[in-house]
Amino acid sequence: MENGNVATQAEGKDPAGFLSDILFKPVTVKLNSGVVYKGELQSVDGYMNIALEKTEEYVNGAKRRTYGDAFVRGNNVMYISAES
């Protein structure tokens, strides 16, 4: 996407660039409801819809569930964080 329609923007200053950097890496996704998902980021689209793999769901800090694959609808997302 570097040579695409964002070429005018400085490298690394584009949030979408950050997202492609952390693709397939472990991430933490927090929703507006406070629920947290940790898993490997498979893909993101422009709505911030997210596909995660090997996902763990945390509610109030306690692990609730695990999902092999999970689709999260973008409007619920508060942030996506790269896990160290």
């Binding site: 996407m1 629920v35 993101v44 422009g46 999902y67 092999g68 694959d69 999970a70 999260v72």
Partner: protein
Amino acid sequence: MAEVEEGPAGGSGSEPLDLVRLLLDEVVFVKLRGDRELQGRLHAYDSHMNLILGDVVETIYVVDDEEEDDEIRTTTKKSEMLFVRGDSVVLLSPQNSS
């Protein structure tokens, strides 16, 4: 609106909705707003995440104020066919994995 992002270079399964397409005709788990969950067979979906589910079991979690320690109760409802409006969808996952 959703035109930015990824680009075509991503290769196979490069966008989240591809995952949903793979779940067509499979039994899925859907988490909804308002502490509701659904399990059912995914017959159709669109980009809003409007869903058509078949043989659905809906589980509703309610904090019961009547009980002493605000116990969480669950209610279940069954429907043969259900149309879910996309904006209430939080998460979608294949059922076999949970």
